[in-house]
Amino acid sequence: MRLETRKLLDRAFSGTGVIAIGVMALALVVILAPIIGKGTGAFVFRSTIEHRKVMFDQWGRGTPERVEADKAPAAAARQPVYDMLAAFAAELDEMPRADRRPYKTPVRDLEKALEELFGPAPGQRTPVLIRQQYGATRWDRTKIKLGELLFTEQWDYSNPDALGVLVKTPRSEQFKETSLEPLFDYVDENIEAIMRPRLTFYWQFLFDTSKDSHIFGGIGPEVLGTLYLTLGAMIFAIPMGVIAAIYLCEYAREGRVVSFLRICISTLAGVPSIVFGLFGLAFFLNTIHISDSKSVLAGSLTLSLLILPTVIRASEEAILAVPKAYKEAALSLGAGRWHTVLTVILPAALPGILTGVVISMGRAAGETAPIIFTAAVSVGRPLLPMQTLSQPTPALPWNIYNLCTEHEAVDEIRHVQYGMVFTLVALVLLLNVFAIVMRARISKKLRG
């Protein structure tokens, strides 16, 4: 082969590697970008007057005077709409029966669309469901609802060879030459005055309990549940893992038993997480009846088994990284083995152990499969510490799954789903960044 070709191949080869790494970085960006971009939208967004109403009615946030001052102009801007509806009702009454008929369904549809945008009309009986008591609370939802008010959507299946096509027609066409015709232009032009959007930082999203299955409010119980589960898992996994690592590094003599134990550890590390979940169900709940139903305790125990191999390995690595000289120094001063471990080796290995612990904490926080059968429920109140022994809890990972697959209004609460994913990912990444920084500092210390 020509030298040039060989060089070209060589460059292509290096290029492939760089591209592979580029793809990896790109994948990271592509996955994180929507999560971060839309996830922050759960916290910072343009809220409408309806959001402020929810906050005031349900959580008592804001003063009555200010909310009234906020409401009054919106109500005033909405009044012409209701006036037009009233005028049209009067118009209908004067029509002959036959002319009246075709308007029946369109009017009902229109009223429903209006209700979704504005909330119930003044004077109407308060609906039972909280979600029906308010209109669109977010500006982005408002625009979608406005679209639904202005246009009707129909699927056109006339071409049998292709998939159906969505056709939009202006709703105003249904009300040509009636007193409702100007309504659509009016709403379209005055939507800002009607909904009064305002940039809001809803930080309470992190702490609020949700109302009406996540249509309103925040993710407080989920965050709390995840914290409980994670901390619980660490309470069991850290002592067990560190003790096992100490035994394997400092006490055990390399031999059959130890290599057997090591194989067990690596097998444990390879067990699929869903199998941990089944084991938790079969053992903790169905065999030893650690609690009557699913509980945070059972979930924590299951998670702790899952992260145990990680904790053991990280601690082993950290202990082995402690210079042998420390151990020799301690022993030469007359310290016993146990004392050496406690006073010299563990303190020196602590940062390394902590790094591993923090990383496995991130893992425990994000795992879903093990808690499905052992700890997680989709709706629940925040638990008191004592209740964790016997009660299940909502948790971020499970609720992410639940809200985006099984919720009855999946599209309505995209922002909540994104907010949850964002919170979970931020939590895990913060833990990992903390660990990465800490490890960099340790290696610097060991090198210099």
Binding site: S14, M24, S266, P272, S273, A365, C404
Partner: protein, 383 residues
């Protein structure tokens, strides 16, 4: 003379019998405690095996083995219930295979790049990227697959496919054209060589280009019925398995040592030739172990497949059609337990444990295999 030792009462070197016995007792107790905690935490794996098996065997006793492993009819709620898990095994295999196809070439290329191409400080930046990729919770990947990626595939499936094909194939084909024309030219007499090289290059290039355009157009015409399908899941699982593959194979590549590489460079080999001809063969077992670990990661993953695989328990037609929904073992366990839970004790409950038992056995065997491979390669390298 020896003031120091004479003023202080000397410690006796010899322990009294009772002290020595106490010491021994304490040491034995302490060590026993450490040992029991260690074995408790490691032998958990046997607990897991036992309790999964305990609930799995009633299923085989009730329904036998044949239907489970050979039939594709999966109607656990039907009357009579049917428990043919063939298609579910197949779905698991298909998405795992897809994930391997995504993760292994990318992962090995990235590992080579990390160990042999990039300078140290760039590596320090890339490593955290891999770690973060590994740290993102699986449910977040699943969310991405379901909420972002699936609609994208569903709405612009053809375009996505053809762009993907172009991105992957175009550089490979270009390279192939250059090398082929070069090889052909090498066989010609000196005078004609240049002409032949250009001629061949142009001809082959034109052929490749038309092929690409045809393929691209064909792909663009494809409509994807549902974005939640095997392709979607395979790509996401591949990305999830990447960090494992990269870090394990990088370790394997680094374990080969500098001498091997320097020997090859000294003979005038380029970097690519050195790596392909000497480094990769020497570290092939380590890379194999990396692939196995990647496979385990993909097979054991639950949330992504549950959320974005479509969960249809049938074998796609034709079997390699990645654009159809599939169902995997993990997703079945996760999804069906909710309904089976009320009828604890029935075959419907136990069949899920039977599936878990299969998963567990598989991962155990894979794990032993990778351990054995790593150990053997270590011996070979003399470490």
């Amino acid at each position: 003379m020896l003031e120091n030792s004479s003023t202080i009462q000397k410690r006796s070197l010899v322990m009294s019998k009772s002290t020595s016995r106490w010491r021994q007792l304490w040491a034995a107790l302490g060590q026993g405690f450490l040992f029991s905690v260690t074995s408790l935490s490691t032998l958990t794996v046997f607990f897991i095996f036992y309790f999964i098996a305990k609930d799995a065997f009633p299923f085989f006793k009730l329904e036998g083995f044949k239907e489970f492993f050979t039939s594709t009819h999966w109607y656990p709620s039907g009357h009579p219930a049917e428990f043919g898990a063939m298609s579910i095994f197949f779905g698991t295999g298909l998405v795992t295979l897809g994930a391997v196809v995504v993760a292994v070439p990318l992962g090995v290329a990235a590992a080579v790049c990390l160990s042999d191409v990039l300078p140290f400080n760039v590596r320090q930046i890339v490593k955290p990227v891999i770690e973060i990729l590994a740290a993102i919770p699986s449910v977040a990947y699943g969310f991405f697959a379901l909420v972002v990626f699936a609609p994208l595939l569903q709405n612009n499936g053809g375009a996505v496919l053809s762009i993907g094909a172009w991105l992957i194939l175009a550089p490979i084909l270009a390279l192939l054209v250059v090398v082929l024309s070069d090889l052909i030219a090498d066989r010609c007499p000196d005078a004609a060589r240049k002409v032949v090289r250009w001629g061949c290059g142009l001809a082959l290039g034109a052929a490749a280009l038309t092929g690409m355009i045809l393929l691209g157009n064909h792909l663009r015409g494809i409509e994807i019925i549902s974005g939640a399908n095997a392709l979607n899941v395979s790509i996401i699982l591949g990305i999830m398995a990447l960090p494992t593959v990269v870090s394990v194979s990088e370790d394997a590549l680094q374990a080969c040592g500098r001498e091997l590489r320097e020997g090859s460079y000294a003979l005038g080999a380029t970097r690519a030739e050195t790596i392909v001809k000497t480094v990769l063969p020497a570290s092939v077992s380590g890379i194999l172990a990396a692939v196995i670990l990647g496979v385990m990661r993909a097979i054991g993953e639950t949330m992504v497949v549950w959320m974005a695989s479509g969960n249809a328990a049938r074998i796609p037609e034709p079997w390699f059609n990645m654009l159809q929904p599939v169902r995997t073992l993990t997703a079945t366990i996760a999804g069906d337990m909710g309904e089976a839970d009320h009828v604890t004790g029935s075959a419907r409950f136990h069949v899920l444990f039977a599936m878990a038992f299969c998963l567990l056995t598989f991962s155990f065997v894979m794990n032993l295999a990778s351990e054995a491979i790593v150990r053997r390669s270590r011996k070979k390298l003399g470490k």
